[in-house]
Amino acid sequence: MTAMPRSGELPLPQDEDALELYGESVHSRMLLGTALYSSPEIMRMAVEASGAGIVTVSLRRESGGDGSGQRFWDLVRNLGLRLLPNTAGCHTVKEAVTTAQMAREVFETDWVKLEVIANDDTLQPDVFGLVEAARILSGEGFKVFPYCTDDLSVAERLLTAGCEVLMPWAAPIGTGRGLINPYALRSLRAYFPKTPLIVDAGIGAPSHAAGAMELGFDAILLNTAVAKAKDPAIMAEAFAKSILAGRLAYRAGLMPQRDMASPSTPLAGLASFDMPDAS
């Protein structure tokens, strides 16, 4: 008997639709953040319900030897998943590069979600600093996952800087506003058909995630929408299913939209109920 797939995994032979990120196969197209949950246990339950293969983590100041860093490390290590450390909160190239170097040692991975923030109100990426930090870190052997805008020229420069994956925003971090510029996202997908594109930030509802996947994006990274749900584990499962649905729909091929209605039931053979002619 074939085992049922976990949430977020395709009900297909395991390697048929795997996502390749820096040469590694990933079997879930949902990446989940570990922040903002009401407790570590609720975070663990949400991660498990999501079926995610990659979770994002961060570094903060060690708080006087209270052991919180070590406890969090033990928790995420026991999840047995790929860790993607971020440089959240960094505003300069220097801060981001140093944080990435420190994260590589602590989390024992050369993967880094690179964030260089330009503005605290919008959390918009500083794309100039981002490209420069990506160039430096790629040169040091990091596998850079840049949190970027949907700008084509920025995307080109990030690829030239050594990035093999791009993570454009759907909307500003934490807003939950969904795909605010689907045209730009569609353009990005069309211009870079072979580059893994992960929508990162701004996803608020499973329908947003499904919409991005239907556009052909390769994966979704989210945090707040799950962590701040009334029931994070159930929301994680909802997102996993929507991401799977969007992926299947993209692979199946969506029908083209039309301006005019078109009947789905054949007109041929339609009965006539006209009254017979009395003459």
Binding site: S68, F72, T98
Partner: protein, 65 residues
């Protein structure tokens, strides 16, 4: 001498980063260190001297999005 550790002023007699970590009781913790904005790998802490006014950052794993 006076230095800053994670943004707070601190008096220390430590001569290098390894001694400072021992003084702070974080030698066994999963941490990463930086001195004056430069990453100092764990293996290099004993050779990373500390001078008056240095700014030390000691970071550990946290939740992230």
């Amino acid at each position: 001498m006076k230095i800053k550790v994670n943004g707070e002023l601190k008096l220390t007699a430590a001569k290098n980063l390894e001694e400072l970590c021992r003084e702070l009781g974080v030698t066994e913790a999963r941490i990463a260190t930086a001195r004056n904005g430069e990453f100092v790998p764990a293996a290099a802490r004993a050779k990373a001297g500390i001078a008056e006014g240095d700014a030390i950052e000691i970071l550990s794993p946290r939740q992230g999005g």
